[in-house]
Amino acid sequence: MTQHIPLSALEQNADFIRRHIGPGPQDQQAMLAALGLSSLDELADKVVPRGIRLADVAAYEQALGAGCTEQQVLQELRAIAAKNQLYKSWIGLGYYNTFTPTVILRNVLENPGWYTAYTPYQPEISQGRLEALLNYQTMITELTGMELANASLLDEATAAAEAMTLCERMSKAKNKRFFVAADCFPQTIDVVKTRAEPLGIEVIVGDPFTELAQLEVFGVLLQYPNRAGEIHDYAALCEAVHSKQGMVVVAADLLALALLAPPGEWGADVAVGSSQRFGVPLGYGGPHAAYFATKDAFKRAMPGRLVGVSQDSQGQPAYRLALQTREQHIRREKATSNICTAQALLAIMASMYAVYHGPDGVKTIASRTHRLTAILAAGLEKLGIQVCNQHFFDTLLLATGERTEAIHQAAQAQRINLCRVDDAHLGLSLDETASRADVETLWRLLSGQDTLNFTVDELDQTAVERLPDNLRRQSAYLTHPVFNRYHSETEMLRYLRQLMDKDLALDRAMIPLGSCTMKLNASTEMIPITWPEFGQIHPFAPLEQAEGYRQLTGELEQMLCACTGYDAVSLQPNSGAQGEYAGLLVIRAYHHSRGDTQRTICLIPSSAHGTNPASAQLAGMQVVVVACDKDGNVDLVDLRAKAEKHSAQLAALMVTYPSTHGVFEESIQEICAIIHEHGGQVYLDGANLNAQVGLCAPGKYGADVSHLNLHKTFCIPHGGGGPGVGPIGVRAHLAPFLPGHCCLPQDSDSQRIGAVAAAPWGSAGILPISWAYIRLMGATGLSQASCAAILNANYIAHQLSEHFPVLYTGPHGMVAHECIIDVRPYKDSAGISVDDIAKRLIDYGFHAPTMSWPVAGTLMIEPTESESKEELDRFCDAMIRIREEIAAIEQGQLDADDNPLKNAPHTANMLLADDWNHPYPRSQAAYPVDSLRSIKYWSPVGRVDNVYGDRHLVCTCPPLSAYEDAA
């Protein structure tokens, strides 16, 4: 008789946990056995210090509940989404409706080949997205008329704040005043002010045409077209500012630049803006890519990543991240930007929008948007409604007088959102989705008349362009062939596929990057983000239209509190580094509220992530470095001494836990206690939360605030270098200081810090991913995931320890959720560097682990819980085989200079050359392990030369002739 299986087991309610966690029960047992352990509990007991283990497991389990099935979570999210109301929003203010070309929607945004890729630090396996990002830079450079554009920043407001600090550094004017035109977007002004205050920069908001002449400022921020849609000629203003050594930043609308003279042609030093309206869904505020373009002279000071052209080992053109010394440079306390993330996936979407439409298509979209706005304006004038703009592109300011409230009510009744400027004015912005029917609806709505005695077609005959004559665009843009050859869908589809196939993302192989937590981004978690009810909500839509988002963000905040032991969460910061910065501003505001304005010292262990000191600097704190012992742990004696020495000025300690060296330090509670004794607050970097959820909670063992990289622990995909999402969790005493936002109702006695991101809930559009993950896993699933992550890391450390030195372990010889192997010895013994091993791993089909961080000359491996034992074994086999190759060099069996490591990666082109003249066979180059004969990733380029690229800096698409010359 067969054994009776209860129905509850047949219902597969915990099925997702098994799908998220790579190794099944049997494999887990085998791995535990290899470590001499019998259960995950025993593992957790050995790795996680007893003193910090979650005391109240019942409360944790109650707060997070049990998991659910994938069907169930989609159903629940459907119900939440249905509470968001899809009004037609003509609000504008930097966010516009757009049609995402479906070929881009399906093949980029919804395609794991793009969204599961990592930041392209390893250029050989990233040529596809590097090309897409180079297209983005080319598009921005040409549309803005600037010399150089980066590969995107977090949002327009942050980009403007970054531009302000660039001006402060680069301007020769010796003052600390920055002028912001009052007609900039309100969220931009809010974020700029937040950024300026701790840096001691005075922000003056006013009318540049009347107030600037009397002032000495190092920089000016202008909006083009401005908030009211007016298009000003700023050329004379730029000259005046320059004559006093100041610099000019222009926040410009990308679509408008298709018709308007670009800022680079009339004197801007920096141009910033959003590329959202190039096909990226509104998503209730994000994620979107902001652009940042400037002059070549300021390239060193430019924040963010920059893609450039170089050449590979075969002399062929190849892309890679350029000027990376800039990033090395910001990893320190003198930094002026902490930006470590871009919005790669969204920048790629925007660039593909331009590839898809081409210059003619973009111009047509801009012209249609403008024509409809001009027709709308002409009709409104006929109807007796005063249009305040002299000139406009797509935005009108209407003097609606005492009818304002009535019109607003009528609009709501017709499910239309307008921008309510004040009691007597309404604003509206059309966009590429606007139709003639929309124009007619707006005429009726705004005039209150049902019958119109003119038609769109009639006005189309007479409506003239309302752009200023002297600011009409003359120069060409999107001239490169890439923007002119993929205009049939077949061609577009194949171009996207061709680029994607060049890259190695999680859909091909494990990406064992230490500290980066490249875990599964489950399809079910991803599906809701492109539902219109999540994707098409304007961030400044009335709150009651976004009830679904209210519920989602509220519940996610509660879930994150339960996972971390904190009492409150802000979802606003849109990257890990922004989270750090926001967390420190909260600490600062707390000290100030108690009159402790002198508390400005921030202690940071020498092992910290480079963004830590950079963030502290931005938050107006002075960094004091605390020593680490030889095991990489915080040196308690030094910590105590420094805390005592700076007791009266101590603001905070920034500590990473488990440490950046991947170890659960036993003394974390003592560390927190020392800081608290001296009146400081503990900022705990949440980068390594993946080892903690369900096992220990920072908010319970002594930390006061953390940022939580949702793109690490909580499954938001890395998208090839962004979106990042970096909410912060705080204990109750810090909750009153969490970020506010100018577009949210706020009490007059609010103690909140200003906005740190353009949108009130940051990258709200992708929060369903983390909500779904936590809901699917439930309390038990999440703790199992933490244990499995620790198991996978320890298994790798164990398998490799016979072959490589494993640095840093806890008291039981165990690592946390990542391990560091030391490859420095091979430099002397075989002339083999970290780079050689990383590039050779490509031949084996793997992305390299994190290189030379936190210790130069090492590899840090984090497998995450999502990788199966089979994949871990495949990786370990590759590493062991590489070690054997190194041994062969050491023993003289392989040539010291001409060997498979030095020549890696091997491209098909190299291997199929008629004259193969290396002293090792082709088969050893291409198929060092047999399994590669059936599944092989071919690197599209040989090793990329960083030095060559930086010495011949090209950061836009090179003309095709460049390729012909090289071929």
Binding site: T119, Y121, Q122, K299, R300, R320, L321, A322, L323, Q324, T325, R326, E327, Q328, H329, R331, K334, S833, V834, D835, A838, T850, M851, S852, W853, P854, A856, G857, N946, V947, D950, R951, L953
Partner: protein, 171 residues
């Protein structure tokens, strides 16, 4: 009194400084200032000795004897310190991609502005994340008052696109 500047280099081994100091002492020389370091198995240094004019020749011969014993290769030059133009100390930090000739390029650029390098500490290390070799240097510079920090920064940054230069006054 004569001021003699000695530069010396030899295989590192215990007792080198002792041997040198003994010789100088025996010949009535005074060890004024020195900078010495060990690198890659070699011991090298620069040393200022003051000595009575009539004893200088004997010291030179004795030092030469050290060389013939295979200990140190030594060259001696008379110091001719001229009154320096008004100048100040600047502290400079630099990071760039390592490549052959980087120190030559930097020192050459500085020399064109009559900037003297008082101290130069440099390392190369693997760059985190992106890989490749980074060259990091900290320099203490004696800079004529006619040369501004900004000018110096521009001068050095013009050497390479990716070269990042920070200048602090007197730190």
């Amino acid at each position: 009194m004569a001021s003699i500047v000695l530069t010396l280099i030899g295989d590192d081994q215990p007792g080198l400084v002792d041997a040198l100091a003994t010789v100088i002492n025996e010949h009535g020389g005074n060890w004024e200032e020195s900078r010495m370091a060990q690198l890659a198995g070699k011991f090298a240094g620069i040393l200022l000795v003051s000595i009575a004019d009539d004893k200088a020749q004997a010291l030179s011969s004795a030092l030469h004897a050290l060389e013939t014993r295979g200990l140190l290769h030594i060259t001696a030059e008379h110091s001719s310190v001229e009154p320096a133009p008004p100048s100040r100390d600047l502290y400079l930090e630099l990071v760039g991609q390592d490549h052959p000739g980087i120190v030559r390029d930097i020192s050459h650029a500085l020399a064109t502005r009559n900037v003297s390098i008082e101290e130069l500490n440099s390392v190369t290390e693997s760059a985190s994340m992106g890989g490749g070799e980074l060259f990091r240097a900290e320099l203490l510079l004696r800079v004529p008052d006619t040369v501004s920090g900004d000018e110096l920064q521009t001068l050095l940054e013009n050497l390479a696109d990716e070269l990042m230069v920070d200048i602090n006054v007197d730190s």
